[in-house]
Symmetry: C2
Subunit: 101 residues, 2 copies
Amino acid sequence: MELTNKQITVIFKALCDENRVQIFRLLQNGEKCACKLLEAMQCTQPTLSHHMKILCDSGLVVGRKEGKWMYYSISPEGTEKAVNVLRELTKVSDSGECCCK
Amino acid sequence: MELTNKQITVIFKALCDENRVQIFRLLQNGEKCACKLLEAMQCTQPTLSHHMKILCDSGLVVGRKEGKWMYYSISPEGTEKAVNVLRELTKVSDSGECCCK
DNA sequence: AAAACATATTGACAAGCTTCAATATGTGTG
DNA sequence: CACACATATTGAAGCTTGTCAATATGTTTT
């Protein structure tokens, strides 16, 4: 299953913002509801909602709705996939020399 | 050695742009000089230079100067570190439940 | 059904990023 | 030393992203 360059950028955009990195740290000890995340973060509710959308789009985080609450957690499948993508993309085959040498 | 949130974003910004993802693909089969990369990419020389700077800043790519040529390659140390950072940041400890539950 | 609550969406503005033309720096060559 | 060449830097334009106030949507409670 090959990903396009575009799809790859979507995954890693999750980690391109300090606030979103902070959200990962908050989610490390398990699922958290949006209200708890909002308490811990220093931003408004719409801003948090925006970041959570980007995180979910990346596949690294999954959301689960329960009544009026929204629970977010780190996706083991998503993160495993991200690690594999990173590994693949940075794997060196070294099958040749550059002509300029 | 703990990284700040900011430092983590610097690493993954390397992979937030389609062109830079493309550059990784070009570097996968070994070190390449800037002129070869420029040939393969569809951008101007200053733009490539800018992307290479971001890639080097991330630590995922290293540059080596030889005469008037600049050779770039994927850094095994940098990529290993990035994988570890990604693993650490997305590791779930699951040491508690959210209060809202 | 209305009120209270949690989260999402919209629209606007500011900050940051990508891109290029022009120019600068540094290296080898005649 | 002057010229050609490879790459880097600067400055400006356009696009994208992050942020917030205001508002909308959907859920529970009274």
